[in-house]
Symmetry: C2
Subunit: 380 residues, 2 copies
């Protein structure tokens, strides 16, 4: 099995992920923040230690600003619905995922906001600046495209948000764990990320890191384990945004994953992934039948001429190679690439991907080219 679908969810995970998960299930099995007995306290400690590990990894001001969610989509919805005011004009990049587009679109339909895209080509700062209107209050941008691997420099986004006093919400779904994110150097209002991709938690955990520890509009309301008598959510973070029982086991697994990343260092992981990706890009670009799209930073997107991305992905699956085909929930990036009708084959790497696996992947693509030679091109 060669797993090249790490941009969807990483696999394998480091051993520290599984051991932290197992430890939490066995020894920290109470309900954190609900009771005061040892098992509940152990769950609360596990969760707090994970807040600290994440705050430390991203150089956040405080562990209390780290709010746990079900996934990055949940975190982005929380950030958008809590921070974007009624009647606002929002600027988003032209390569956003549906986790940003869909929550904005529903509010646009209801007439509560409008949004507009800025180009990520050329001078991003100038592109954003030229789109700002008097009613613009917020910039939302991914830090890395999940289709091309393109990295949007956080310093540009941070600077322009600061200059125009705009709220900045960043989506680190692809970059977290794969590239340096330093909230001291490049601050933002909310940084959202999944736990199960580059940070190696299991699925079922994401988070948002808030700069301001005072809650804005609440998003999900319910039991917070504190101030039970008050019919409103607590006004401070993290409790103000964390309603109901937290997933202590998945949060613990994330701590295990983050520990691995910190030990290896993001710098080293980043260098390794970029090197491996460039190797794969070179290989794929040597195949005549391949149409390679802009790729990098762990993600390689391509098609085979005249063949649908899903056909090739399924032929690779038969050879026990896991990639993703289609639109990857990011139609705007495909609009930009001209691949909205067919999607792309996306191979995505982690620091566990080996040179041998990439070479076997390349050979399999070559073999598939030979296999489909005799078959007439599909109409895609």
């Amino acid at each position: 099995m060669i797993y090249l679908d790490n941009a969807a969810t990483s696999f394998p995970k480091p051993k520290s992920t599984y051991s932290a998960l197992w430890h939490a299930i066995k020894f920290a099995s109470g309900n954190a923040g609900r009771s005061s007995h040892k098992l509940a306290q152990a769950a609360a400690d596990t969760i707090y230690n994970t807040r600290e590990a994440i705050a430390d990894l991203f150089h956040a001001d405080s562990p209390e600003g780290v709010v746990f969610t079900y996934n990055a989509t949940h975190a982005l919805n929380m950030a958008i619905k809590s921070y974007v005011e009624e009647g606002a004009h929002v600027l988003i990049s032209d390569i956003e995922h549906n986790a940003v587009i869909r929550p904005l679109e529903i509010q646009r339909e209801r007439g509560s906001l409008i949004y507009d895209t800025f180009s990520t080509d050329g001078d991003i700062e100038a592109n954003i600046s030229s789109r700002i209107r008097p009613e613009t209050t917020c910039i939302i941008s991914t830090l890395q495209s999940n289709v091309t691997g393109r990295i949007i420099p956080a310093d540009i986004l941070s600077r322009v948000a600061e200059k125009y006093k705009l709220t900045l919400i960043l989506d680190a779904s692809q970059l977290a764990g794969h590239g340096e994110i330093n909230l001291k150097r490049t601050p933002c209002d909310v940084l959202c990320a999944p736990g199960h991709k580059g940070l190696f938690g299991i699925q079922g955990v994401g988070f948002a890191i808030f700069r301001d520890l005072k809650r804005r509009k609440s998003f999900i309301e319910g039991g917070s384990g504190s101030d039970s008598i008050d019919p409103r959510m607590p006004s401070l973070l993290p409790e103000g945004y964390e309603a109901g029982t937290l997933g202590a086991p998945s949060i613990a697994s994330l701590r295990g994953g983050v520990e691995y990343v910190k030990k290896r260092t993001v710098e080293e992981i980043s260098e390794q992934i970029h090197g491996m990706t460039n190797r794969l890009i070179d290989r794929i670009s040597s195949i005549n039948e391949a149409e390679l799209y802009p790729s990098g930073g762990g993600i390689v997107s391509f098609n085979l001429k005249g063949r649908s991305s899903s056909l090739i992905a399924s032929m690779l699956d038969e050879k026990s190679i896991c990639v993703r085909s289609g639109l990857h929930c990011a139609p705007s990036a495909h609009k930009k690439l001209g691949t909205l009708n067919r999607g792309t084959i996306r191979a995505s790497l982690s620091c566990f991907t080996t040179v041998k696996e990439l070479d076997l992947f390349y050979k399999s693509i070559r073999n598939i080219c030979d296999e489909v030679k005799s078959v007439p091109s599909s109409s895609i």
Copy 2:
């Protein structure tokens, strides 16, 4: 260690919970619904099998109506915010949890709905009927109090909702797995429950079972793995309400838990828990210093005269006995009991609780009574 905090989260879990979790992490480690390769397909199968197991346990019409969430609070927020129309009048029971009160209260403050409580004493059907106004559209009720264990008969709620053509949203947080819930016999629009209590999943999973497979207002929007080109969420369930990566491992653990419950049968579990609870009630009521509140169905709430609930819980913790003290996120139930200022000590059982554990718990309470005799009563 004697664990009597199963109403917060159950512990231990049956072996089938852990083995299903482990299997999912090792063999179903792709991202369900995102890619088509074997590992992603295995994750999708795991999730679908859990939908089937839950639909079967609750006699729901279709596995597609089972929507997975982070916890029961997330499910209740989804149900309320998706199903309660602007300007509605909502009726809730007088023993609701903050997972119902807080999402309603925030909307009441914004002027988008009003709500009112009905008494769960006496003739519930008459109580509800007398509160219905022309603008009433919805009844929301727990099926079992998390403070007293009091069960609200689903057939009454179902009948009155049917009679007045009202939307019925039920909170099965305490009853799921501990008492029979049959959606064929006592239908409702949305049944919400956690996965980590009586159904023995790990923390980080809940669900809502919808009668109607057409989505109403969306709640969290994002990638759904399908219709990526559409900026709106899919219109059908479950995808219409499931945005972002699902927690396949916690969902798998829930399937393992549900399998155990089905094998034992809810009827047998219910009988066992009720019998054990009555035994504990008898024991506690024999203690002179104990003030026992209405209790049953797995939950026993009491105080020791003149002592704060948190002090006694912490003394029990020193003896390695886990209970919960305080308000249990359900202030309205405490208002009814007259315990809003001090809360209660709550011992909550599961089908893994043994007679020996309950006897030791009883003895420890007696010992604590002796220990605190010489200490002056606190002002609570």
